[in-house]
């Protein structure tokens, strides 16, 4: 098991008290697996992803545990995490466009990072970086450039290379395609796949609100709603037969290519997600769910209703009560690990 998250809850401090942005989230990601973490803004996906790497001062972990490669990840201990960052867990941030400091050349930046990690043989690592740059079609003179000399797409890709330079076990990629045009999106998506295939990263958590990218890149997808995990399944299963009402509505509201507006109107999901400052009791999707009934006033647990398919919904659990896999959280079917490059 590469990454195992158990009951993780993360809250933001505010003057009105702590706001729990992510509540009791559990999932596992196997070695070599790319898991998509999807949801709307405010669903908690970014919070979870970032918490695994860097909990800044505004956030605090209020419960749960994380293990990577069998060892506990001390996410609340900033000092202990420092050496693990970039080496064991790494992040491609949502703000990748402005993540590279403008007054230092890329190469110098990397050197300073390597020094911080007490890497002695820096030349070897830099040579590796040049190889990887070439791999994705960037020239190695990128290292002698400043960040503002690069286009948006280049910056995104350079950030990905930088974050994966030391072959971390877990890479959290936060909205890596959101700011890009479609063809660059594809390039970045393929880059993630390539890096995983070559073993530059073991597991990837790709956070996005764009399900279409995940359909191309992710092995499995986890859907979050209002701070909780709603559904988790292999990509094909989720896209073709989603079980959670929210996921179903989400997929139904995606426009289909070739569909004309006089054939069908774009359906959304009426209503809005609940405020997390004072969340309602029970299932948080209840108010917008067409299938809500009495039991929904209690929080549904994340249950494995089919092998490898977890859903947090009373209706679904009831319907699939007889099927194998009863409410335990199990890892998904193992994804074959490709040869190391």
């Amino acid at each position: 098991m590469s990454v195992n998250v158990q009951g993780l809850s993360v809250a933001y401090r505010s003057h009105r008290g702590d706001v729990t942005a992510a509540d009791n989230v559990s999932f596992s990601v196997a070695d070599g697996e790319i898991m998509g973490l999807a949801g709307e803004s405010g669903s908690g996906k970014s919070t979870i992803g970032n918490a695994l790497v860097y909990l800044d001062q505004r956030m605090k972990a209020t419960g749960g545990a994380v293990t990577v490669d069998g060892r506990e990840l001390p996410i609340a201990d900033n000092r202990a995490m420092q050496q693990l960052r970039m080496t064991t867990v790494s992040l491609v941030p949502q703000y990748a466009m402005s993540a590279l400091t403008p007054t230092r050349k890329i190469g110098q930046l990397i050197t300073d990072l390597l020094k911080s990690h007490h890497i002695d043989n820096r030349q070897r690592v830099i040579a590796e970086m040049k190889r990887r740059l070439e791999l994705i079609g960037l020239r190695e003179d990128v290292l002698s450039k400043y960040s503002f000399e690069l286009s948006g797409g280049m910056r995104q890709r350079v950030t990905i290379i930088m974050s994966t330079l030391l072959n971390p076990s877990l890479l959290v990629a936060d909205e890596v395609t959101s700011a890009l045009d479609v063809s660059t999106q594809r390039a970045v998506g393929e880059m993630l796949l390539e890096f995983r295939d070559r073993g530059y990263v073991k597991s990837v958590i790709a956070i996005t609100h764009d399900l279409s990218i995940l359909a191309q890149v992710a092995d499995s997808i986890a859907i979050m709603y209002a701070g909780r995990l709603a559904e988790r399944a292999e990509t094909g299963t989720l896209v073709e037969s989603p079980l959670h009402p929210y996921t179903q509505a989400l997929l139904a509201s995606l426009p289909a290519v070739g569909m004309r507006h006089d054939q069908a109107t774009l359906a959304g999901i009426p209503g809005r997600p609940p405020s997390l400052v004072n969340p309602p009791a029970g299932c948080r999707f209840r108010d917008r769910c067409p299938f809500a009934f009495a039991a929904c006033s209690e929080t549904p647990p994340l249950a494995e209703v089919r092998p490898g398919h977890l859903v947090a919904c009373w209706k679904v659990s009831q319907e699939h009560a007889g099927e194998p896999g009863t409410g335990q959280q199990r890892p998904l079917a193992s994804v074959p690990v490709k040869e190391q490059a």
Binding site: R13, H15, Q57, R58
Partner: protein
């Protein structure tokens, strides 16, 4: 893009940019307007909540109000007019003369109280005229862009480079008429570029925002858009700029008066200090002559600066210390 040394970085960052107004330089330009709140009511209560809890704002505002009160009441409770020769020269501060008297026997408490009034007056005039000119030109330049904008930038760059005090001295020493009005307006005319620059940058960045496009689409005329869409978003920011300008004007006026160029028919803090120095108060250890005026002026400006920072923190959540 921050392209040159004598342009401040184009879009002000929270509390970060130095030199908004000359004399109170590096306290820095306040941060840009915060995000437009979707819930106006929430914003107001947020402001009240944070405002009252912000120590800097409370402290600065209270101190400033106290001083303003003193400026209003002080001259009324002073026993003697400031320039009346009482026949008791060089008195230590005591029960009769609360701050003592100068070499001619004039009551220094009265001079202080009246001087405070003059300082506030000059501050208002200076900040007011600078704000008027600066905001007008800044709005125009930021809104229209193009040649007008380039011309304004050039103009502000040039004026900024000429030292305000020296310019004031050259003009003032030539003029025979000296009045507070002149002083205030001329100070404003040497400091308006700071306002114009800041306003221009803000207008520029706001003009590309969505709500402005919406207003344009609905057919509003430019002036009406400026007034109803842009200005309110900049209001907090403009307010901060004007506060800094106010303090800056007071300091500049004090230096100007100290050089003997200020109006001589009224008493000002700078003038008092000038008199003290000219009459060798330093040598004779008449400390009560020159220490109170400057100390009070320092308090006036410091309170403004602190309140300004506090206000900036209230308007910009990013600056609040966790």
């Amino acid at each position: 893009m921050s392209e040159s040394v004598s342009d401040a970085p184009q879009v002000p960052r929270p509390g970060a940019i130095p030199a908004v107004a000359p004399e109170v330089a590096a306290v820095g330009l306040p941060g840009g307007p915060g995000p437009v709140s979707a819930v106006p009511g929430r914003r107001r209560s947020d402001f009240a909540y944070y405002g009252l809890r912000n120590k800097k704002l409370v402290f600065g505002l209270s101190l400033e109000l106290l001083l303003v009160l003193f400026a209003i009441i002080g001259p009324m409770i002073a026993k003697y007019p400031p320039r009346e020769i009482t026949g008791f020269p060089v008195q230590h501060p005591g029960t009769r003369f609360w701050l003592g008297t100068d070499m001619l026997g004039e009551d220094l408490f009265s001079q202080l109280a009246n001087g405070l009034r003059e300082s506030y007056l000059v501050g208002v005039l200076g900040a007011g005229s600078a704000a008027l000119v600066g905001m007008t030109l800044g709005f125009i330049a930021g809104w229209r862009g193009g040649i007008l904008d380039e011309a304004l930038q050039l103009l502000t760059n040039i004026i900024v480079m000429i030292p305000s005090l020296v310019l004031l001295v050259v003009i003032g020493s030539y003029m025979s008429a000296k009045s507070v009005l002149f002083e205030g307006v001329f100070i404003g005319l040497t400091t308006w570029p700071w306002v114009a620059r800041a306003v221009r940058a803000q207008t520029f960045s706001l003009r590309g925002r969505e709500f402005v496009d919406l207003a344009k689409l609905s057919g509003k005329r430019p002036l009406s858009i400026i007034v109803s869409e842009i200005a309110p978003n900049m209001a907090s920011y403009l307010f901060l700029v004007v506060i800094l300008l106010f303090g800056s004007s007071m300091l500049l006026a004090a230096s100007y008066d100290f050089l003997g160029l200020g109006p001589t028919n009224v008493v000002s803090l700078g003038w008092t200090m000038n008199q003290a120095q000219a009459n060798a108060a330093l040598i004779y250890h008449w400390w009560w002559w020159f220490i109170p005026p400057g100390a009070v002026l320092t308090a006036m400006v410091a309170a403004l600066l602190v309140a300004n920072v506090g206000l900036d923190e209230v308007f910009n959540p990013k600056l609040r210390e966790q």
